[in-house]
């Protein structure tokens, strides 16, 4: 499932990156910062995947 249509980040890529401590992935740093429509979903997923999304 595509999470960010601006950077073409999928939920699976985000999950794998968070679990391996590699978030933010190179080239995906602008996820959530462009069209802004996925910010809520991004923060929700980061919390679910154990990443502190407050900073």
């Amino acid at each position: 499932m595509l999470l960010c249509y601006c950077t073409m980040l999928t939920v699976g890529e985000l999950r794998a990156a968070c679990r391996s401590g590699r978030w933010p992935l190179p080239g995906k740093e602008n996820t959530g910062k462009l069209c802004t429509a996925c910010v809520g979903d991004l923060l929700y997923c980061l919390r679910r995947f154990g990443v502190d999304a407050s900073c």
């Binding site: 429509a37 996925c38 910010v39």
Partner: protein, 228 residues
């Protein structure tokens, strides 16, 4: 990912690719269409040919669902970045069958992915505004708002301006839900001059006007970001 709203009784045609180059009409790699009711339930995902130039939303909706209420129609278009310099725009033609009102032509609202990373834009687009002009006949105004999020609800504030007065409304939309937010045409004797939407995250949003006597749509337009 772009979206619009379909209401029964209207001719509503979507030009899938508005841009053309000098040599050939450009094509999408794929196009998925999804229909949602007001409560966010998926009504269907009709298969469409991405090479088709124009989609007849009325035919698409009628073939997919018997629902007669407003339907949110979501377009998930994928394309080759090497062919399209920017996200392909969808445009639409809208006219109530048999109505003497003029047809409307509008740009379909890009919600998710409206700002591809390679473009490098940094403007925020979740604060939007629309300035009204006085119509030649009485109208009822409203906002059509939709939430394309997958997991979380979106909160929004709608501000309407009447002379020096401001009226605020708050709305929360769950994922894939949509709503029509009525805007009073007058407040304390002053006409509606402007509306603003401030959403935590970008929403699908259109400002609409309907003839007070017939209900025919005479305005259907996207808002404009005002924080540049």
């Amino acid at each position: 990912m772009s979206a619009t709203f379909y209401e029964a009784g209207y001719e509503h045609h979507v030009e899938v690719i508005h841009q053309r180059d000098g040599e050939a009409r450009r094509r999408l790699d794929s196009l998925e269409v999804m229909l949602y009711d007001e409560g966010g339930a998926l009504l269907g995902a009709p298969r469409v040919d991405p090479a088709q130039d124009v989609l007849d939303l009325g035919a698409l909706v009628r073939a997919t669902t018997s629902a007669t209420e407003r339907v949110m129609v979501v377009f998930d278009a994928r394309y080759a970045e090497s062919i399209f310099p920017y996200r392909p725009h969808h445009y639409a033609y809208l006219h109530r069958a048999g109505s003497p009102a003029a047809p409307l032509y509008y740009a379909i609202n890009a919600v998710l992915g409206g700002v591809p990373d390679r473009v490098g834009a940094t403007n925020i687009n979740n604060f939007e505004t629309y300035v009204f002009r006085r119509g030649p006949f009485a109208q009822r105004y409203s906002l059509l708002l939709g939430c394309l999020a997958h997991f979380v609800p979106v909160q929004a504030q709608v501000f309407t301006y009447y002379g020096s007065r401001r009226v605020a409304q708050e709305i929360t939309l769950e994922p894939k839900c949509h709503a029509e937010v009525a805007l009073a045409a007058e407040h304390e004797g002053e006409p509606l001059a402007r509306v603003e939407v401030k959403a935590l995250f970008r929403l699908l949003s259109y400002v609409v006007g309907r003839r007070a006597d017939t209900g025919d749509l005479v305005l259907f337009d996207h808002l404009f970001t005002y924080a540049k």
